[in-house]
Protein backbone atom coordinates (compact mmCIF):
# COMPACT_ATOMS: atom_id res chain seq x y z
CA UNK A 1 0.00 0.00 0.00
CA UNK A 2 2.79 2.43 0.87
CA UNK A 3 4.48 1.86 -2.49
CA UNK A 4 1.16 2.29 -4.30
CA UNK A 5 0.54 5.62 -2.60
CA UNK A 6 4.08 6.73 -3.26
CA UNK A 7 3.68 5.93 -6.95
CA UNK A 8 0.33 7.70 -7.12
CA UNK A 9 1.95 10.78 -5.68
CA UNK A 10 4.77 10.70 -8.17
CA UNK A 11 2.32 10.34 -11.09
CA UNK A 12 0.05 13.13 -9.89
CA UNK A 13 1.50 16.00 -11.82
CA UNK A 14 1.81 14.25 -15.16
CA UNK A 15 -1.72 12.88 -14.87
CA UNK A 16 -3.15 16.35 -14.39
CA UNK A 17 -1.24 17.65 -17.41
CA UNK A 18 -2.26 14.78 -19.69
CA UNK A 19 -5.89 14.99 -18.61
CA UNK A 20 -5.95 18.72 -19.33
CA UNK A 21 -4.35 18.13 -22.71
CA UNK A 22 -6.95 15.55 -23.68
CA UNK A 23 -9.86 17.68 -22.57
CA UNK A 24 -8.35 20.61 -24.46
CA UNK A 25 -8.23 18.54 -27.66
CA UNK A 26 -11.85 17.53 -27.23
CA UNK A 27 -12.83 21.11 -26.45
CA UNK A 28 -11.06 22.64 -29.43
CA UNK A 29 -12.40 20.15 -31.96
CA UNK A 30 -15.89 19.69 -30.56
CA UNK A 31 -16.39 23.45 -30.43
CA UNK A 32 -16.04 23.43 -34.22
CA UNK A 33 -18.93 21.00 -34.47
CA UNK A 34 -21.86 23.46 -34.54
CA UNK A 35 -20.28 25.32 -37.44
CA UNK A 36 -19.61 22.10 -39.32
CA UNK A 37 -23.13 20.87 -38.68
CA UNK A 38 -24.77 24.04 -39.93
CA UNK A 39 -22.62 24.00 -43.03
CA UNK A 40 -22.69 20.21 -43.36
CA UNK A 41 -23.16 20.01 -47.11
CA UNK A 42 -20.22 22.28 -47.86
CA UNK A 43 -18.04 20.49 -45.38
CA UNK A 44 -18.86 17.14 -46.94
CA UNK A 45 -18.19 18.54 -50.40
CA UNK A 46 -14.85 19.82 -49.27
CA UNK A 47 -13.90 16.48 -47.74
CA UNK A 48 -15.21 14.63 -50.79
CA UNK A 49 -12.75 16.66 -52.81
CA UNK A 50 -9.90 14.98 -50.92
CA UNK A 51 -8.64 11.64 -52.19
CA UNK A 52 -10.24 8.75 -50.32
CA UNK A 53 -6.90 7.70 -48.90
CA UNK A 54 -6.33 11.10 -47.28
CA UNK A 55 -9.78 10.90 -45.71
CA UNK A 56 -8.93 7.50 -44.35
CA UNK A 57 -5.67 8.79 -42.91
CA UNK A 58 -7.57 11.56 -41.12
CA UNK A 59 -10.11 9.02 -39.87
CA UNK A 60 -12.99 10.68 -41.69
CA UNK A 61 -16.04 8.68 -42.71
CA UNK A 62 -17.86 10.81 -45.24
CA UNK A 63 -21.38 9.62 -44.51
CA UNK A 64 -21.29 10.18 -40.79
CA UNK A 65 -18.85 13.03 -40.32
CA UNK A 66 -21.57 15.60 -39.76
CA UNK A 67 -23.21 13.56 -36.98
CA UNK A 68 -21.84 14.19 -33.53
CA UNK A 69 -20.67 10.61 -33.04
CA UNK A 70 -19.06 10.52 -36.46
CA UNK A 71 -17.26 13.75 -35.77
CA UNK A 72 -16.29 12.62 -32.28
CA UNK A 73 -14.82 9.37 -33.57
CA UNK A 74 -12.37 11.46 -35.59
CA UNK A 75 -11.42 13.44 -32.48
CA UNK A 76 -11.02 10.38 -30.25
CA UNK A 77 -8.22 9.34 -32.58
CA UNK A 78 -6.19 12.36 -31.51
CA UNK A 79 -7.13 11.91 -27.87
CA UNK A 80 -6.11 8.26 -28.01
CA UNK A 81 -2.79 9.30 -29.53
CA UNK A 82 -2.32 11.55 -26.55
CA UNK A 83 -3.35 8.79 -24.14
CA UNK A 84 -1.07 6.33 -25.90
CA UNK A 85 1.92 8.58 -25.36
CA UNK A 86 0.98 9.12 -21.74
CA UNK A 87 0.59 5.40 -21.16
CA UNK A 88 3.72 4.26 -22.93
CA UNK A 89 5.74 6.94 -21.22
CA UNK A 90 4.41 5.90 -17.84
CA UNK A 91 4.97 2.24 -18.59
CA UNK A 92 8.51 2.79 -19.74
CA UNK A 93 9.58 5.04 -16.94
CA UNK A 94 7.93 3.37 -13.94
CA UNK A 95 10.41 0.59 -13.40
CA UNK A 96 13.37 1.99 -15.27
CA UNK A 97 13.45 5.25 -13.38
CA UNK A 98 14.43 3.36 -10.25
CA UNK A 99 17.56 2.20 -12.00
CA UNK A 100 18.13 5.39 -13.91
CA UNK A 101 17.76 7.62 -10.89
CA UNK A 102 19.50 5.01 -8.79
CA UNK A 103 16.76 4.74 -6.24
CA UNK A 104 16.62 0.98 -6.81
CA UNK A 105 19.11 0.53 -3.99
CA UNK A 106 16.60 2.13 -1.71
CA UNK A 107 13.46 0.38 -2.88
CA UNK A 108 14.76 -3.07 -3.74
CA UNK A 109 16.53 -3.70 -0.46
CA UNK A 110 13.30 -3.18 1.42
CA UNK A 111 11.58 -6.33 2.68
CA UNK A 112 9.33 -6.60 -0.35
CA UNK A 113 9.53 -8.87 -3.36
CA UNK A 114 10.18 -7.51 -6.83
CA UNK A 115 6.75 -8.78 -7.83
CA UNK A 116 5.16 -6.66 -5.11
CA UNK A 117 7.04 -3.63 -6.45
CA UNK A 118 5.79 -4.30 -9.98
CA UNK A 119 2.22 -4.84 -8.75
CA UNK A 120 2.18 -1.60 -6.78
CA UNK A 121 3.48 0.32 -9.77
CA UNK A 122 1.06 -1.24 -12.25
CA UNK A 123 -1.90 -0.61 -9.98
CA UNK A 124 -0.86 2.98 -9.43
CA UNK A 125 -0.55 3.54 -13.18
CA UNK A 126 -3.92 1.92 -13.89
CA UNK A 127 -5.52 4.07 -11.21
CA UNK A 128 -4.10 7.15 -12.84
CA UNK A 129 -5.30 6.09 -16.30
CA UNK A 130 -8.77 5.50 -14.90
CA UNK A 131 -8.77 8.91 -13.27
CA UNK A 132 -7.55 10.47 -16.52
CA UNK A 133 -10.23 8.72 -18.52
CA UNK A 134 -13.09 9.36 -16.12
CA UNK A 135 -12.25 13.05 -15.90
CA UNK A 136 -11.76 13.22 -19.65
CA UNK A 137 -15.03 11.38 -20.28
CA UNK A 138 -16.93 13.67 -17.94
CA UNK A 139 -15.41 16.69 -19.67
CA UNK A 140 -16.14 15.31 -23.14
CA UNK A 141 -19.75 14.56 -22.16
CA UNK A 142 -20.29 18.08 -20.93
CA UNK A 143 -18.75 19.59 -24.06
CA UNK A 144 -20.76 17.23 -26.29
CA UNK A 145 -24.03 18.10 -24.58
CA UNK A 146 -23.28 21.77 -25.18
CA UNK A 147 -22.38 21.48 -28.86
CA UNK A 148 -24.89 18.81 -29.87
CA UNK A 149 -27.37 19.73 -32.57
CA UNK A 150 -29.61 16.73 -32.08
CA UNK A 151 -29.72 13.87 -29.60
CA UNK A 152 -27.07 11.15 -29.82
CA UNK A 153 -26.55 7.73 -28.26
CA UNK A 154 -24.87 8.10 -24.88
CA UNK A 155 -23.83 4.46 -24.81
CA UNK A 156 -22.09 4.74 -28.19
CA UNK A 157 -20.39 7.90 -26.99
CA UNK A 158 -19.18 5.90 -24.00
CA UNK A 159 -18.04 2.99 -26.15
CA UNK A 160 -16.08 5.30 -28.41
CA UNK A 161 -14.52 7.05 -25.41
CA UNK A 162 -13.65 3.73 -23.77
CA UNK A 163 -11.29 2.89 -26.62
CA UNK A 164 -9.01 5.51 -25.09
CA UNK A 165 -8.56 3.26 -22.07
CA UNK A 166 -7.91 0.21 -24.24
CA UNK A 167 -5.25 2.06 -26.21
CA UNK A 168 -3.67 3.23 -22.95
CA UNK A 169 -3.62 -0.31 -21.59
CA UNK A 170 -1.91 -1.67 -24.67
CA UNK A 171 0.77 1.02 -24.83
CA UNK A 172 1.32 0.89 -21.09
CA UNK A 173 1.99 -2.84 -21.27
CA UNK A 174 4.30 -2.41 -24.25
CA UNK A 175 6.14 0.34 -22.37
CA UNK A 176 6.59 -1.90 -19.33
CA UNK A 177 8.02 -4.77 -21.27
CA UNK A 178 10.35 -2.55 -23.29
CA UNK A 179 11.65 -0.95 -20.13
CA UNK A 180 12.64 -4.19 -18.41
CA UNK A 181 14.82 -5.07 -21.37
CA UNK A 182 16.30 -1.62 -22.00
CA UNK A 183 16.68 -0.04 -18.62
CA UNK A 184 19.85 1.81 -19.43
CA UNK A 185 18.07 4.29 -21.63
CA UNK A 186 19.03 7.83 -20.74
CA UNK A 187 15.60 9.13 -21.54
CA UNK A 188 12.37 7.31 -22.27
CA UNK A 189 10.47 10.08 -24.00
CA UNK A 190 12.06 9.71 -27.47
CA UNK A 191 11.38 5.99 -27.44
CA UNK A 192 7.80 6.23 -26.29
CA UNK A 193 7.02 9.17 -28.56
CA UNK A 194 8.61 7.36 -31.49
CA UNK A 195 6.78 4.11 -30.88
CA UNK A 196 3.38 5.65 -30.34
CA UNK A 197 3.65 8.10 -33.24
CA UNK A 198 5.04 5.32 -35.38
CA UNK A 199 2.05 3.13 -34.59
CA UNK A 200 -0.29 6.03 -35.22
CA UNK A 201 1.17 6.85 -38.61
CA UNK A 202 1.45 3.22 -39.65
CA UNK A 203 -2.14 2.79 -38.48
CA UNK A 204 -3.26 5.79 -40.48
CA UNK A 205 -1.70 4.48 -43.67
CA UNK A 206 -2.97 0.97 -43.12
CA UNK A 207 -6.43 2.37 -42.63
CA UNK A 208 -6.14 3.83 -46.09
CA UNK A 209 -5.81 0.29 -47.50
CA UNK A 210 -8.26 -1.34 -45.04
CA UNK A 211 -6.37 -4.61 -44.98
CA UNK A 212 -7.83 -6.61 -42.13
CA UNK A 213 -4.64 -8.45 -41.19
CA UNK A 214 -2.55 -5.31 -41.47
CA UNK A 215 -4.70 -3.60 -38.89
CA UNK A 216 -3.18 -5.90 -36.29
CA UNK A 217 0.08 -3.97 -36.58
CA UNK A 218 -1.18 -0.77 -35.00
CA UNK A 219 -3.20 -0.73 -31.78
CA UNK A 220 -4.78 2.48 -33.01
CA UNK A 221 -6.52 0.44 -35.72
CA UNK A 222 -7.96 -2.16 -33.36
CA UNK A 223 -11.00 0.02 -33.01
CA UNK A 224 -12.89 0.88 -36.16
CA UNK A 225 -15.23 3.63 -35.07
CA UNK A 226 -17.70 3.34 -37.92
CA UNK A 227 -17.99 -0.37 -37.06
CA UNK A 228 -18.64 0.51 -33.43
CA UNK A 229 -21.28 3.08 -34.39
CA UNK A 230 -23.00 0.66 -36.76
CA UNK A 231 -22.88 -2.47 -34.61
CA UNK A 232 -22.70 -1.11 -31.05
CA UNK A 233 -19.84 -3.47 -30.29
CA UNK A 234 -16.09 -3.89 -30.66
CA UNK A 235 -14.50 -6.27 -33.13
CA UNK A 236 -13.66 -9.39 -31.17
CA UNK A 237 -10.43 -10.49 -32.94
CA UNK A 238 -8.82 -7.11 -32.31
CA UNK A 239 -10.08 -6.96 -28.75
CA UNK A 240 -8.55 -10.38 -28.11
CA UNK A 241 -5.29 -9.35 -29.75
CA UNK A 242 -5.16 -6.29 -27.52
CA UNK A 243 -5.82 -8.39 -24.43
CA UNK A 244 -3.13 -10.89 -25.42
CA UNK A 245 -0.58 -8.11 -25.92
CA UNK A 246 -1.40 -6.69 -22.50
CA UNK A 247 -1.32 -10.01 -20.66
CA UNK A 248 1.82 -11.34 -22.32
CA UNK A 249 3.65 -8.05 -21.81
CA UNK A 250 2.74 -7.80 -18.16
CA UNK A 251 3.59 -11.45 -17.50
CA UNK A 252 6.95 -11.02 -19.23
CA UNK A 253 7.56 -7.91 -17.19
CA UNK A 254 6.95 -9.73 -13.89
CA UNK A 255 9.05 -12.67 -14.94
CA UNK A 256 11.99 -10.66 -16.22
CA UNK A 257 12.03 -8.03 -13.52
CA UNK A 258 12.17 -10.65 -10.77
CA UNK A 259 15.26 -12.20 -12.32
CA UNK A 260 17.00 -9.04 -13.30
CA UNK A 261 20.29 -7.81 -11.93
CA UNK A 262 20.10 -4.30 -10.60
CA UNK A 263 23.46 -2.87 -11.49
CA UNK A 264 25.49 -0.56 -9.36
CA UNK A 265 26.21 3.02 -10.08
CA UNK A 266 28.59 3.01 -12.98
Amino acid sequence: MNMYLHELKSLRKSTVIWTCAMIAIALVYLSLYPAIFSDGAHFKDMLAGYPASIRAVLGVTLESVTTLLGFYSMIIGFVALCGGIQAMNTGMSMLSKETRERTAEFLLVKPVSRAAVVTAKILAALTMFLITDVVYYAGACVIASIVKQSSYSGSLFFMISLTLFFVQLIFFAIGLVVSVFFDRLRSVLPVSLGTVFGCYIVGAFIAAGKDDWARFISPFRYFDYSYIIQNSRYETPYLITGAVIVLVSIATCYFTYARKDIHAVS
Binding site: V109, P111, A264
Partner: protein, 293 residues
Amino acid sequence: MNVIEIKNLTKNYGKARGVIDVNLEVEQGEIFGFVGPNGAGKSTTIRTLLGLIHPTSGSAEIFGKSCTTNPEVRKEVGYLPSEVFYYDGMRVIDLLRYSASFYKKDCTKRINELAEIMDLDLKKRIDDLSFGNKKKVGIVQGLIHEPKLIILDEPTSGLDPLMQQRFFDLIASENKKGATVFLSSHILREVQKMCERVALIKEGRIIKFEKMSTLQENNFKRIKVEGPSDLDKTIFDMPGVSKVENGGKTATFLFRGDINRVIRKLAQTDVSNLSIDEPDLEEIFMHYYSKDG
Protein backbone atom coordinates in the same frame (compact mmCIF):
# COMPACT_ATOMS: atom_id res chain seq x y z
CA MET B 1 24.79 -18.63 14.45
CA ASN B 2 26.04 -17.09 11.25
CA VAL B 3 24.24 -13.97 10.20
CA ILE B 4 25.88 -13.88 6.81
CA GLU B 5 26.86 -17.00 4.97
CA ILE B 6 28.34 -16.83 1.51
CA LYS B 7 29.25 -20.12 -0.13
CA ASN B 8 31.29 -20.49 -3.31
CA LEU B 9 29.78 -17.33 -4.66
CA THR B 10 30.70 -16.54 -8.23
CA LYS B 11 29.26 -13.69 -10.23
CA ASN B 12 30.17 -12.79 -13.77
CA TYR B 13 28.88 -9.84 -15.70
CA GLY B 14 28.89 -11.35 -19.14
CA LYS B 15 32.58 -11.91 -19.65
CA ALA B 16 33.64 -9.39 -17.05
CA ARG B 17 34.64 -10.64 -13.64
CA GLY B 18 32.53 -9.87 -10.64
CA VAL B 19 33.63 -12.15 -7.83
CA ILE B 20 35.06 -15.66 -7.96
CA ASP B 21 34.40 -18.41 -5.45
CA VAL B 22 33.90 -16.20 -2.43
CA ASN B 23 33.34 -17.92 0.89
CA LEU B 24 32.53 -15.85 3.89
CA GLU B 25 30.84 -16.20 7.25
CA VAL B 26 29.92 -13.47 9.65
CA GLU B 27 28.86 -14.40 13.15
CA GLN B 28 26.14 -12.77 15.12
CA GLY B 29 27.24 -9.67 17.02
CA GLU B 30 30.58 -9.14 15.37
CA ILE B 31 31.86 -6.23 13.36
CA PHE B 32 33.25 -7.65 10.20
CA GLY B 33 35.53 -5.76 7.86
CA PHE B 34 35.56 -6.29 4.13
CA VAL B 35 38.54 -4.64 2.59
CA GLY B 36 39.76 -4.26 -0.93
CA PRO B 37 40.60 -1.67 -3.54
CA ASN B 38 38.00 -0.21 -5.89
CA GLY B 39 36.69 -2.78 -8.33
CA ALA B 40 37.80 -5.77 -6.26
CA GLY B 41 34.25 -7.06 -5.90
CA LYS B 42 33.13 -5.66 -2.57
CA SER B 43 29.96 -4.07 -3.88
CA THR B 44 29.20 -7.08 -6.06
CA THR B 45 29.35 -9.30 -2.99
CA ILE B 46 27.11 -6.98 -1.00
CA ARG B 47 24.62 -6.53 -3.81
CA THR B 48 24.33 -10.28 -4.25
CA LEU B 49 23.83 -10.64 -0.54
CA LEU B 50 20.98 -8.15 -0.65
CA GLY B 51 19.36 -9.77 -3.65
CA LEU B 52 19.94 -6.85 -6.00
CA ILE B 53 21.90 -9.10 -8.30
CA HIS B 54 21.72 -12.84 -8.76
CA PRO B 55 24.68 -15.15 -8.31
CA THR B 56 26.09 -16.96 -11.34
CA SER B 57 26.76 -19.87 -8.98
CA GLY B 58 26.98 -20.45 -5.26
CA SER B 59 24.84 -18.80 -2.65
CA ALA B 60 24.66 -15.76 -0.41
CA GLU B 61 22.38 -15.91 2.59
CA ILE B 62 21.31 -13.64 5.42
CA PHE B 63 19.95 -15.26 8.58
CA GLY B 64 20.01 -18.53 6.68
CA LYS B 65 17.80 -17.28 3.86
CA SER B 66 18.39 -15.91 0.41
CA CYS B 67 17.05 -12.41 -0.18
CA THR B 68 15.86 -13.39 -3.62
CA THR B 69 13.52 -16.12 -2.49
CA ASN B 70 12.73 -14.66 0.94
CA PRO B 71 12.61 -10.89 0.52
CA GLU B 72 11.15 -10.49 4.00
CA VAL B 73 14.51 -11.31 5.65
CA ARG B 74 15.57 -7.84 4.55
CA LYS B 75 13.35 -6.54 7.33
CA GLU B 76 16.27 -7.07 9.67
CA VAL B 77 18.81 -5.49 7.37
CA GLY B 78 19.91 -1.90 7.23
CA TYR B 79 21.92 -1.00 4.15
CA LEU B 80 23.93 2.10 3.44
CA PRO B 81 25.01 2.19 -0.21
CA SER B 82 28.25 3.84 -1.18
CA GLU B 83 26.40 6.49 -3.13
CA VAL B 84 22.96 7.51 -2.05
CA PHE B 85 20.26 8.63 -4.43
CA TYR B 86 16.73 9.40 -3.46
CA TYR B 87 13.50 10.42 -5.06
CA ASP B 88 13.48 14.00 -6.24
CA GLY B 89 11.06 16.44 -4.75
CA MET B 90 10.79 14.70 -1.39
CA ARG B 91 11.67 16.21 1.92
CA VAL B 92 14.03 14.31 4.17
CA ILE B 93 11.26 13.50 6.61
CA ASP B 94 8.98 12.21 3.83
CA LEU B 95 11.66 9.88 2.61
CA LEU B 96 12.39 8.61 6.10
CA ARG B 97 8.71 8.03 6.76
CA TYR B 98 8.38 6.24 3.44
CA SER B 99 11.35 4.10 4.35
CA ALA B 100 9.92 3.38 7.80
CA SER B 101 6.59 2.36 6.29
CA PHE B 102 8.23 -0.76 4.89
CA TYR B 103 9.05 -2.07 8.34
CA LYS B 104 5.68 -1.71 10.01
CA LYS B 105 7.13 -0.08 13.09
CA ASP B 106 6.62 3.35 14.52
CA CYS B 107 9.95 4.99 13.90
CA THR B 108 9.17 8.64 14.61
CA LYS B 109 11.13 8.79 17.83
CA ARG B 110 14.03 6.99 16.33
CA ILE B 111 14.06 9.30 13.30
CA ASN B 112 14.34 12.36 15.52
CA GLU B 113 16.99 10.71 17.65
CA LEU B 114 19.17 9.75 14.72
CA ALA B 115 18.65 13.07 12.97
CA GLU B 116 19.90 14.82 16.06
CA ILE B 117 22.98 12.64 16.35
CA MET B 118 23.83 13.10 12.69
CA ASP B 119 22.87 16.78 12.72
CA LEU B 120 20.38 16.40 9.89
CA ASP B 121 17.69 18.91 8.97
CA LEU B 122 14.52 16.88 8.39
CA LYS B 123 12.60 19.69 6.75
CA LYS B 124 14.94 20.17 3.81
CA ARG B 125 14.27 18.87 0.36
CA ILE B 126 16.61 16.07 -0.59
CA ASP B 127 17.50 17.67 -3.93
CA ASP B 128 18.93 20.64 -2.05
CA LEU B 129 21.26 18.58 0.11
CA SER B 130 24.99 18.31 -0.41
CA PHE B 131 26.62 14.95 -0.97
CA GLY B 132 27.63 14.66 2.67
CA ASN B 133 24.16 15.51 3.88
CA LYS B 134 22.62 13.00 1.51
CA LYS B 135 24.94 10.45 3.01
CA LYS B 136 23.57 11.35 6.42
CA VAL B 137 20.06 10.72 5.13
CA GLY B 138 21.34 7.35 3.99
CA ILE B 139 22.75 6.58 7.41
CA VAL B 140 19.56 7.51 9.23
CA GLN B 141 17.50 5.70 6.63
CA GLY B 142 19.55 2.55 7.10
CA LEU B 143 19.20 2.57 10.87
CA ILE B 144 15.65 3.72 11.60
CA HIS B 145 14.21 0.26 11.88
CA GLU B 146 16.92 -0.92 14.30
CA PRO B 147 18.18 -3.66 12.03
CA LYS B 148 19.93 -6.72 13.36
CA LEU B 149 22.36 -6.63 10.48
CA ILE B 150 23.91 -3.40 9.27
CA ILE B 151 25.61 -3.49 5.90
CA LEU B 152 27.80 -0.51 5.13
CA ASP B 153 29.37 0.05 1.74
CA GLU B 154 32.05 2.74 1.92
CA PRO B 155 30.10 4.53 4.61
CA THR B 156 32.25 7.54 5.34
CA SER B 157 32.87 8.99 1.90
CA GLY B 158 31.58 12.53 1.89
CA LEU B 159 31.36 12.86 5.67
CA ASP B 160 33.56 15.31 7.52
CA PRO B 161 35.82 13.91 10.26
CA LEU B 162 33.50 14.96 13.06
CA MET B 163 30.57 13.20 11.41
CA GLN B 164 32.69 10.17 10.66
CA GLN B 165 33.46 9.94 14.36
CA ARG B 166 29.80 10.30 15.33
CA PHE B 167 28.89 7.76 12.72
CA PHE B 168 31.34 5.21 14.07
CA ASP B 169 30.17 5.85 17.62
CA LEU B 170 26.64 5.26 16.42
CA ILE B 171 27.58 2.00 14.73
CA ALA B 172 29.51 0.91 17.80
CA SER B 173 26.50 1.53 20.02
CA GLU B 174 24.25 -0.38 17.64
CA ASN B 175 26.74 -3.20 17.80
CA LYS B 176 26.65 -3.14 21.59
CA LYS B 177 22.88 -3.46 21.40
CA GLY B 178 23.43 -6.66 19.46
CA ALA B 179 23.55 -5.66 15.81
CA THR B 180 25.96 -7.42 13.51
CA VAL B 181 27.93 -5.06 11.29
CA PHE B 182 29.37 -5.76 7.88
CA LEU B 183 31.66 -2.91 6.92
CA SER B 184 33.06 -2.70 3.43
CA SER B 185 35.74 -0.16 2.82
CA HIS B 186 38.96 0.64 1.09
CA ILE B 187 39.95 2.95 3.92
CA LEU B 188 41.87 0.69 6.24
CA ARG B 189 41.91 3.06 9.16
CA GLU B 190 38.16 2.67 9.50
CA VAL B 191 38.30 -1.06 9.42
CA GLN B 192 41.25 -1.19 11.76
CA LYS B 193 39.41 0.90 14.30
CA MET B 194 36.12 -0.95 14.18
CA CYS B 195 36.45 -4.54 13.16
CA GLU B 196 37.20 -7.74 14.94
CA ARG B 197 37.64 -9.83 11.86
CA VAL B 198 38.50 -8.86 8.37
CA ALA B 199 38.47 -10.36 4.88
CA LEU B 200 40.69 -8.98 2.18
CA ILE B 201 39.42 -9.17 -1.36
CA LYS B 202 41.42 -8.65 -4.49
CA GLU B 203 40.38 -9.07 -8.10
CA GLY B 204 37.23 -10.88 -7.11
CA ARG B 205 38.84 -13.39 -4.77
CA ILE B 206 39.13 -13.42 -1.02
CA ILE B 207 42.84 -13.55 -0.38
CA LYS B 208 43.00 -13.39 3.37
CA PHE B 209 40.59 -13.94 6.14
CA GLU B 210 41.71 -13.20 9.60
CA LYS B 211 41.09 -11.86 13.03
CA MET B 212 42.06 -8.24 13.18
CA SER B 213 44.42 -8.99 16.04
CA THR B 214 46.18 -11.84 14.24
CA LEU B 215 46.43 -9.78 11.14
CA GLN B 216 48.13 -7.04 13.03
CA GLU B 217 50.31 -9.31 15.09
CA ASN B 218 51.17 -12.10 12.73
CA ASN B 219 54.77 -11.24 13.48
CA PHE B 220 54.74 -8.37 11.10
CA LYS B 221 57.15 -5.68 12.18
CA ARG B 222 58.13 -2.49 10.54
CA ILE B 223 61.84 -2.16 11.08
CA LYS B 224 63.84 0.96 10.52
CA VAL B 225 67.59 0.78 10.62
CA GLU B 226 70.07 3.62 10.55
CA GLY B 227 73.75 3.08 10.13
CA PRO B 228 76.73 5.37 10.59
CA SER B 229 77.57 4.93 6.94
CA ASP B 230 75.76 3.52 3.90
CA LEU B 231 74.17 0.21 4.75
CA ASP B 232 75.16 -2.98 3.02
CA LYS B 233 72.17 -3.78 0.82
CA THR B 234 72.73 -7.51 0.93
CA ILE B 235 71.91 -7.79 4.63
CA PHE B 236 68.23 -7.58 3.81
CA ASP B 237 68.35 -10.52 1.44
CA MET B 238 66.68 -12.97 3.76
CA PRO B 239 63.33 -14.73 3.89
CA GLY B 240 60.50 -12.78 5.54
CA VAL B 241 61.72 -9.37 4.48
CA SER B 242 59.58 -7.32 2.17
CA LYS B 243 59.06 -3.79 1.01
CA VAL B 244 62.62 -2.73 1.50
CA GLU B 245 63.24 0.95 1.12
CA ASN B 246 66.91 1.53 1.19
CA GLY B 247 68.01 5.11 1.22
CA GLY B 248 71.71 5.00 1.86
CA LYS B 249 72.21 5.31 5.58
CA THR B 250 68.66 4.37 6.50
CA ALA B 251 66.54 1.43 5.49
CA THR B 252 62.99 0.46 6.33
CA PHE B 253 61.30 -2.83 5.64
CA LEU B 254 58.57 -5.15 6.79
CA PHE B 255 59.57 -8.37 8.44
CA ARG B 256 57.49 -11.42 9.05
CA GLY B 257 58.73 -14.46 10.92
CA ASP B 258 61.07 -15.19 13.80
CA ILE B 259 62.30 -11.83 15.00
CA ASN B 260 65.54 -13.35 16.29
CA ARG B 261 66.79 -13.90 12.79
CA VAL B 262 66.69 -10.19 12.06
CA ILE B 263 68.28 -9.32 15.36
CA ARG B 264 71.15 -11.72 14.73
CA LYS B 265 71.66 -10.28 11.32
CA LEU B 266 71.53 -6.75 12.61
CA ALA B 267 73.98 -7.65 15.34
CA GLN B 268 76.58 -8.27 12.65
CA THR B 269 76.07 -4.78 11.27
CA ASP B 270 77.10 -1.46 12.65
CA VAL B 271 73.85 0.23 13.58
CA SER B 272 73.42 3.75 14.90
CA ASN B 273 69.68 3.68 15.38
CA LEU B 274 66.95 1.07 15.26
CA SER B 275 63.20 1.13 15.63
CA ILE B 276 60.75 -1.74 15.52
CA ASP B 277 57.09 -0.86 15.18
CA GLU B 278 53.74 -2.50 14.65
CA PRO B 279 52.90 -1.91 11.03
CA ASP B 280 49.48 -0.43 10.31
CA LEU B 281 46.97 -2.43 8.40
CA GLU B 282 47.63 -0.54 5.23
CA GLU B 283 51.14 -1.86 5.04
CA ILE B 284 50.09 -5.41 5.73
CA PHE B 285 47.42 -5.02 3.18
CA MET B 286 49.75 -3.69 0.52
CA HIS B 287 51.99 -6.59 1.33
CA TYR B 288 49.25 -9.05 0.49
CA TYR B 289 48.51 -7.23 -2.67
CA SER B 290 52.05 -7.23 -3.88
CA LYS B 291 52.87 -10.80 -2.91
CA ASP B 292 49.88 -13.10 -2.88
CA GLY B 293 48.48 -11.83 -6.13
